[in-house]
Amino acid sequence: MSSSTDSPTLTTETTQLSPQPDTETAKPTKKITLKSSDNQIFEVEESVAMEFATVKSFFEDSPSSTDIVPLPNVTAKPLSQVIEFCKEQIKFKANPDEAQKKKYNAEFLTEKSDKDLVDMIPVANYLEIKDLLDVLNQAVADRIENKSVEYVRNFFGIDNDFTAEEEAALRREHAWAYEGVDED
């Protein structure tokens, strides 16, 4: 199969672009080039890129487009992590193994810093990778569960916009909430 750079014809291209990892693994794989907002170039296998609904529809909408897909909302670091995750998911699609998948997902998440996790969320959202978004949201929720308000603010880098009086009133109102909070 020729790479898309050599073939400007369109109709056959689009059919090839539909994700069929099972049948395509045997054939030589086509690469898709993604460009992050900080101008880094990522070459990924087509099957991986088609996991990104946004990229997929990019090709569906404009099959004649050049090969480089610009991702203006996405920086290189979270993008590389997202690609890494999706590569593995493709393997599990071909050979379903729930236990292994669970294990991989757990390991993938635990080794990431808080910032990495939070940074990946808008990327997963922009690229419309529902499964990843789901596990990321859960992982973040798990990390802030039972943490102090200060911890949560710091986790998300949120500034406290309550006045001292407002905060004191809210804290009085919710005095009970301070039970069962983990040490930071």
């Binding site: 949201n137 943490k147 916009d161 309550f162 930071d184």
Partner: protein, 394 residues
């Protein structure tokens, strides 16, 4: 608790859009510390967590229930909040999470009965004569206390909480029915009052056909609550609409003869359903009927038959259907003594539940947690948080 923690260096500003934050917050478990804490993070979060659309996306996938054990002594130590899930791989239903709500911690009083719940708010009555009720949101440990008018011991109050929706105006209301007696031995006249939360007063409304005795597990459908009247020969089901503030009557299933009062109400897929005894020859069975079109007698359909009843038939009072699972299993309350799972395909009780074990009785009600804050829906009332700071008098 407010001593300074060690300063953590701040990560750079992460600006997640509200819709993404909302999804993260919706993954937090129904546990007050987590959600309560998050309301204090900043104004945006406080707003997000109070938003009703957020409360809608959460917690609706599994039915949930509250079970109160009724020990011999009048005081109850706890109620159990259990979430029921469909069994996987051919297994029967599972209790996914079971949490205890401890009186004076998550609940305002230890001397109470469960009344019912509606859209995340729980109603409980206090004391032997039920002259005080509390409306609580256990998620936030908020509650308001409502005293009844003319609290005389022989009024025998009973209640029901409901939501009235009129032109996008949402109001929680408490219905009180009581039997007016001139003295303890005189016959009673059913009377009713209603309390719109936030108005701080009871209003007299038209008389009910019959007082509520005790609401069944879940009887709230289409803005109405329903109950079985306290009569020797049953002719109808009582209803009350919270929007119109009107009492009504609904027909019973066609084959039911009215003599056997072991009748229990429930909700199956947004329809009112009823469990009625049906004798076939000398064999006792229960039919579970569903009213497919609300208010239409012809629309009663027999959905299930519960047979092979538990051996001790002589003692049998009722089979109350609680939760219907898509696997064809029904979680039932047997005589108010224990909870068990009935399999409609195998036609027998398959599993006794371990949600609670008690020698006394149990009373279970449906409850779906929500993030409806009383601070929002009960403006004008004194909303208290639990536990309240101890006041020491010296």
């Amino acid at each position: 608790m407010d001593h300074r923690r060690k300063k953590v260096t701040k990560t750079e500003i992460t600006d997640l859009p509200d819709c993404l934050l909302e999804e993260i917050l919706s993954k937090l478990p129904m546990r007050s510390p987590a959600l309560g804490q998050c309301r204090l993070v900043c104004k945006t979060w406080l707003h997000l967590i109070s938003e009703t659309y957020f409360s809608k996306i959460q917690f609706e996938s599994h039915p949930r229930m509250l079970v109160k054990t009724i020990p011999e002594t009048y005081r109850s130590r706890e109620i159990i909040s259990a979430r029921i899930a469909e069994g996987v791989n051919g297994r029967t239903f599972q209790v996914q999470r079971s949490k205890k709500l401890v009186p004076e911690k998550e609940l305002p009083t230890a001397n109470f009965e469960l009344v019912n719940s509606c859209h995340g708010l729980l109603c409980i009555s206090e004391g032997k004569y039920r002259n005080v009720i509390h409306v609580c949101n256990p998620v936030f440990r908020e509650h308001i206390t409502i005293n009844v008018n003319r609290p005389l011991p022989f009024y025998l109050n009973s209640f029901g909480l409901g939501l009235s929706i009129n032109n996008d105006k949402y109001e929680y209301k408490v219905l009180r029915t009581f039997c007016l007696r001139t003295n303890r031995s005189a016959p009673g006249y059913p009377r009713a009052e209603i309390y719109t939360i936030g108005t701080k007063r009871w209003r007299r409304i038209g008389n009910p056909h019959s007082c509520i005795e005790k609401l069944d597990f879940n009887t709230y459908v289409h803005g109405y609550i329903h109950w079985i009247p306290d009569q020797k020969l049953l002719q109808f089901i009582c209803s009350f609409n919270f929007g119109k503030e009107q009492f009504g009557q609904l027909p019973l299933p066609p084959t039911y003869n009215g003599n056997d009062v072991r009748v229990k109400l429930g909700v199956l897929k947004d329809c009112l359903c009823v469990s009625v005894p049906e004798k076939v020859g000398s064999v006792d069975k229960f039919g579970i009927w569903v009213m497919k079109k609300y208010g239409i007698k012809r629309s009663w359909i027999q959905q299930y038959v519960i047979e092979n009843l538990y051996p001790d038939v002589g003692r049998l009072k009722f089979y109350e259907p609680l939760i219907f699972l898509s696997t064809g299993e029904i979680l039932i309350s047997f005589n108010g003594e224990f909870l068990a799972c009935y399999n409609t395909k195998m036609k027998k009780l398959v599993k006794k539940s371990t949600i609670t074990q008690t020698k006394g009785g149990i009373h279970a009600i449906a409850y779906n947690p929500s993030l409806v804050s009383l601070n929002v829906v009960a403006r004008g009332e004194k909303v208290r948080a639990l536990p309240e700071p101890k006041v020491t008098l010296c």
